[in-house]
Amino acid sequence: MILIAVTLVATASAQRRDRRLPAAELFRREALLRPYFELVRAYRHRDPSPLETIRNASLWPQDRLQKTHDLLREIQPNIYDKAIQPVDWKPIVLRAAAMLHTDAMFGSLDEGLSITPGIHRAMAVALVKLLEGPADRRFAARWFVVTTTILRWHNRPFEAIAHATDGLGQFPNAADLLLLAGTLHEDIARHDFVVAAAPMSGAERLNEAERHFRRSLAADAAQEEAQLHLGRVLHLRGQRAEAMERLTPIAERSGKAVLRYLAYLFLGAIYEDEAGWTEAERCYRAAIELQPREQSADVALSALFDRLGRRRDSYDHLVGALKNGPRLSSDPWWTYVFGPPQEMLLPGFLSLREEVME
């Protein structure tokens, strides 16, 4: 028995020794990661130069970034293991490095660059994947939602989907990320010109959207927004009965006027498809009553009148509505189409960044 115990201790000790890397390898890692680490440290001290450095190909060439990326992937399984750590990679440093690359990614997008954002996104994702522990995981989950939303805002639907998919690999039951991914598929399906450039057809995109919305609701049944999107997508897929079941409770009982407006708008369209003219008119009018200054429901109602040959009503209604603007608020339909406006996205992003600063 004693012999067995001694043998086990000796084996464990030998394994620990084996994990120590040769000096040359440690030197290679140190040489590559130390300057990078210094960059992140300066970033945490709110120094603007690291961002400039990391985005400037002549100061920090892409192959160097690639090597750093490869090395991080290589050491990823043992990142918390001090025995093989070339630098002091505390989780807060990993978070900060991720935010540095996130900043670099969005900066490159603002400048309309095509390749660089992808490199920084890959770096940031690799870094976020290294995070462990409950608080770090919560940070990572928020990060995926915030950054995916901003990618969507930057009109990068395919990168946003890839990003959300990376996030779902880490957090498969994250209701908000599932909702976001579904929304992205729904967005792409609306645009023939985007669909044409993509491997999936519009119908397949809608199918994907529906799948994500259902998963999102399975993770959190109380999510009205997922319910709304699911109702809309079901209508577009021709499943009108279930679409109505999903949308009616939101239209009638939601505490959010914006969601009620959209639910009535979508229900109106379903009734139109079923030649339920009176019901369609009732729905559009209900939406207008909720948000009298917005435009989509007015356009929908005018078009319904036109369709029914009520030209005078169609004209009168539209003239009144078009003279309403320009509007200070944002039509809920536009928010549905474009996602939240930038000023609503920024606080989430700034909060993530603030958390990594010294």
Partner: protein
């Protein structure tokens, strides 16, 4: 020819005399049995004049019709400018657009009226139809380019604000963008266009380059213009923009008006129209059909 005893409620061809006063209340339905078909005949881009009724063939739901008259009619115009003011036209492009529209306005005459609809993601009525060119010129100065593109909703607005009077209804749509924010679908807009009598002219600000595929919106706009009997121009440069607007005006001014009393076709429903000219090398554009309803 046997005249129909029951009048048709036809989207095409108002028979009410025009009263050109700008304050006139819009009228919306006109019961007629005479069908009027607005036709453009060109050789290349050049309008062709001098044609007579005998030169045309009109088929209503496949049945050849007896043409009562064919003439180039300088009807007064109701022109709605439907102008893209989304982010993508910010700067010089919008200025050029304003200039081109003003050039078009200079070409309007007597009883002609113009209106202005601008659109980004939001559709705005800059001015309803008015004989005052200066009001439109002033309204053209107001928009600031920004935001997305509700192209379909804006075109719908132009169609919905049409007047069923004796003016020729024209929508002049100028855009460089893809629709990103409209509520209405292509099918809804197409149906609305087929119910109305407006000619749709489209001036595309961003022509497809060599070998570049047309975007979905551009193909749709071309289809919509065809449906209405209008045309599409691609302004390849800023100089071209003014020229395109003037060519549109010339095309409108030299359109023929054919009239006939429909015979041997059902009273109501969709009437598919085919118009031909028995001469080689001519391009004939007329709306693809009209809806008629029993009173």
């Amino acid at each position: 020819m046997k005249r129909r005893a029951v009048a048709l409620l036809v989207a095409i061809g108002p028979a009410v005399a025009a009263t050109p006063a700008s304050t006139q209340q819009p009228t919306f339905t006109t019961r007629v049995d005479l069908v009027r078909v607005d036709v453009s005949v060109t050789r290349g881009r050049q309008p062709v004049g001098g044609l007579r009724a005998a030169d045309f063939e009109v088929f209503d739901n496949g049945v050849r019709q007896q043409i009562e008259s064919a003439s180039i009619e300088r009807l007064p115009l109701n022109v709605f400018f439907v102008i893209d003011v989304s982010q993508s036209v910010a700067g010089a492009k919008l200025d050029e657009l304003r200039e081109a529209a003003e050039t078009f306005l200079d070409g309007l005459e007597g009883d002609d009226r113009a209106g202005l609809i601008t659109f980004s993601h939001e559709v705005l009525l800059g001015s309803d139809l008015t004989p005052s060119r200066s009001s439109i010129a002033e309204a053209l100065q107001q928009p600031v380019a920004s935001g997305g593109t509700s192209l379909r909703d804006a075109i719908y607005a132009g169609l919905a604000l049409r007047r069923a009077d004796a003016h020729r209804e024209v929508l002049l749509v100028c855009t460089d963008g893809l629709d990103t924010a409209s509520w209405l679908t292509e099918a809804q807009l197409q149906a609305a266009a087929s119910r109305g009598n407006s000619l749709l002219y489209v001036v595309g600000l961003a022509p497809p380059g060599p070998g570049q595929k047309r975007s979905g919106s551009e193909s749709f706009l071309a289809k919509l213009a065809d449906l209405s009997g209008g045309r599409v121009w691609h302004a390849e440069s800023s100089d071209w923009l003014k020229r395109a607007f003037l060519e549109v005006l010339a095309d409108i001014r030299t359109r023929y008006m054919l009239t006939y009393y429909p015979t041997n076709v059902p009273l109501d429903g969709w009437h598919a129209l085919t118009v031909r000219v028995a001469r080689q090398g001519l391009i004939v554009k007329a709306r693809e059909g009209y809806y008629a309803e029993k009173p």
